[in-house]
Subunit: 414 residues, 2 copies
């Protein structure tokens, strides 16, 4: 049985449309990222404001007609998506804009937005009758892949580079993944994973060569639309690493418009870390990607060779949006602000979106009466080390409380 | 304006009922834990299966009539409650029971069930026109207090003992808390906090002397009822530290029965860690509490002097349930099983409920066809160190992949 509403896969480079059985463009090769196409006229008859309001499935699967999975396919038991859209009035005042909401994807099962993509991955693996799914990563992609595989009764094999932090390896092992630590770089781990998938016939979750995963990420945009009563904000701020999250968000807005769910789309604010900003360079110069060695505290967006840079640039352009970079210092500031003013603990890459919004207001790109959503792509609990560098130390006092009054007065608490 | 449905506070020890302005029983003193009483006849007219099905508020505030807050009081912007109830069929088979769901409270804003209580705390603090809320703890109570305070625009002051782990202090600082590290024990920190609250007029979140907080915890039980279509499972497994979570769960079941929402209540399985099991001792012997020095990997339930032991014992008895202890080894096993078979990363105290369920099946207390819910009270990301001791090490391989085939065959992956 086929995917009911999928009509084909279009190459982002050559524009050719191919049947839904390729991973990358058969003409352009590995460069040719494919984009899933749907029969929107048919989807439109099924997916309306009214039918959605009646759906009780509060997960990304409520948008099933816009996802590249078969109608009868089983989905993981783990809840994925429909994360809170939290109003953050104090943070909005601090940044200097009219209204701000945080879309808190750190509430997903493994603590990041990547669960949306991995959930599609495990469904596709099952459809392809594979029992093992593999990926190369130390980060959110890996843990979400392992967690979703566990929920779906699949085995997972994760290749990690030597420098992978132990807490992240621990999370993978808890999810029952077979973790292979490669004494080498990320590239070594990636190549080994590709070869092993080819040799053993495992399902390959590496998103660069899998056109379906990004469709899962798209659902975060659909949810923003629906949770705001189909009145999108002026801006949606998204941190950019590989580029496929912001491309997914834009696809969601295009689709909502095409389906008549929203009247106007939001502008996208793409934000990169200064030390890992190859996509911003493309956006500014209009030239093709120049790979670089990334250096930033925001490890989840420390991508030197983003595979989806073109999709990202097109998304920002089409939305009438903008793109800018922020320093690590601004990222850590934003992490603290998001915690103390909204009660949301964001990982550095997630705080990057908030930092970018703040800078865009200062620079005048985003107006002072604007409404905005910032995408919180990952939970701060996943990277306590970075948070530590942002917040400093507690006060030390003796058990008799000597000196307490002075500390309280200093802190404006007395 | 008063709390619409609250009729008074009943002392768990002497049974006396007092107006809703005390913290502990005016006759019994600090021992006299108070329990909030409601006008259930009036609540029954408002809270029915039908009215609840129509409510769009997917948070603990959907049960507002059963919470001790004023009708007009503002609640935090942070979403609290209505966490996923995740089916775990593979884990159920592994344990040997008919059906198992995990109530994943690790998805709350600060990563634990304590958010439910702290959310009530900050609402009450605002009702009392306090601008500062304080608590003594290193754990989930502290981080939830700081996070909810941030969301509500309140300041928070947290007293932590010297041995508090740095990651937990970091989380507090991110939420903007003023953190006072006391060079002494938890008891020292607690006493300093009590004195400071009295001196400076701060709102006191220490749950032992605050009858309102546990009402927030109760909502997890109400959600289990509603999410299962008002058909409660045979058993609900809850780890026990202080005792107030399991008491809250039982109160939810009593109330749902009294309101006609459910026909029968679940049995409660109370589970303690072997090295911190004073409540199990009370349950087994019928004698009053004997304080002890707790030793267990499950730090969130490492309580030697539980203040709510009596409420917990009564809850388990009234439910027709049972109580047992599990070893740290069983807890770590359960943590691994919950991760690899259900994709849920539980902190040790949360995995304790799953470990207890497994043991109860082995011992014959819980039948092999039984249906059960295990309460996942906290997110495993909050305590990576314990997880590390549960899972061992990854496989090391060279960049050329030599030895990979052997590893895969060992792992039954080839």
């Amino acid at each position: 049985m086929e995917m009911e509403f999928v009509t084909g896969l279009a190459c982002v480079f050559c524009g050719g449309v191919y049947p839904a059985r390729y991973s990358t463009c058969p003409r352009c090769g590995i460069q040719g990222i494919l984009d899933v196409q749907y029969d929107y006229a048919a989807v439109r008859r099924r997916l309306t404001r009214r039918t959605l309001a009646r759906r009780r499935d509060l997960s990304q699967w409520r948008y099933r007609e816009l996802l590249p999975i078969r109608a009868a396919s089983a989905v993981p038991d783990l809840a994925v998506g429909w994360t809170p859209l939290t109003a953050a009035p104090t943070l909005a005042r601090h940044i200097g804009i009219g209204s701000l909401w945080l879309k808190d994807d750190g509430r997903n099962a493994s603590g990041s937005l990547k669960d949306r993509a991995s959930a599609i991955g495990v469904v596709k693996a099952r459809e392809a009758r594979r029992r093992i799914i593999a990926c190369a990563s130390t980060g959110n992609a890996a843990s979400s892949c392992a967690g979703m595989a566990a929920s779906m009764g699949l085995r997972s094999v994760i290749f990690v580079p030597e420098r992978a932090p132990e807490p992240k390896i621990t999370q993978l092992l808890v999810f029952g993944a077979t973790v292979l630590r490669v004494r080498g770089s990320y590239e070594d781990a990636f190549q080994l994973c590709q070869r092993a998938c080819a040799k053993w016939g495992w399902y390959n979750r590496n998103s660069g060569i899998n056109p379906y995963l990004v469709e899962g990420k798209k659902t975060v945009g659909l949810e923003i639309g629906e949770q705001l009563g189909w009145k999108p904000p002026d801006w949606v701020a998204v941190s950019v690493g590989d580029g496929c999250t912001i491309a997914g968000v834009w696809k969601a807005f295009r689709e909502m418009k095409q389906l008549g769910l929203i009247a106007r789309t939001s502008r996208l604010l793409g934000v990169q870390a200064e030390g890992a900003a190859p996509v911003t360079a493309c956006w500014q110069t209009g030239e093709p990607l120049r790979p670089l060695e990334p250096h930033t505290v925001a490890d989840s967006i420390a991508v030197g060779v983003p595979r989806n840079w073109k999709k990202a640039v097109i998304a920002i352009q089409e939305s009438g949006g903008s793109m800018l970079n922020v320093s690590d210092c601004e990222i850590l500031d934003a992490m603290r602000d998001t915690g103390r003013l909204a009660g949301v603990f964001a990982e550095p890459a997630a705080a990057t979106a908030v930092a970018g919004l703040r800078r865009a207001v200062t620079e005048g790109t985003v107006g002072r009466r604007a409404t905005a959503v910032a995408l919180v792509t990952g939970n701060g609990l996943k990277d306590i080390q970075s948070a530590k560098s942002a917040v400093g130390d507690p006060f030390d006092i003796p058990p008799d409380g000597a000196g307490l009054d002075e500390i309280l007065c200093q802190s404006a608490l007395c």
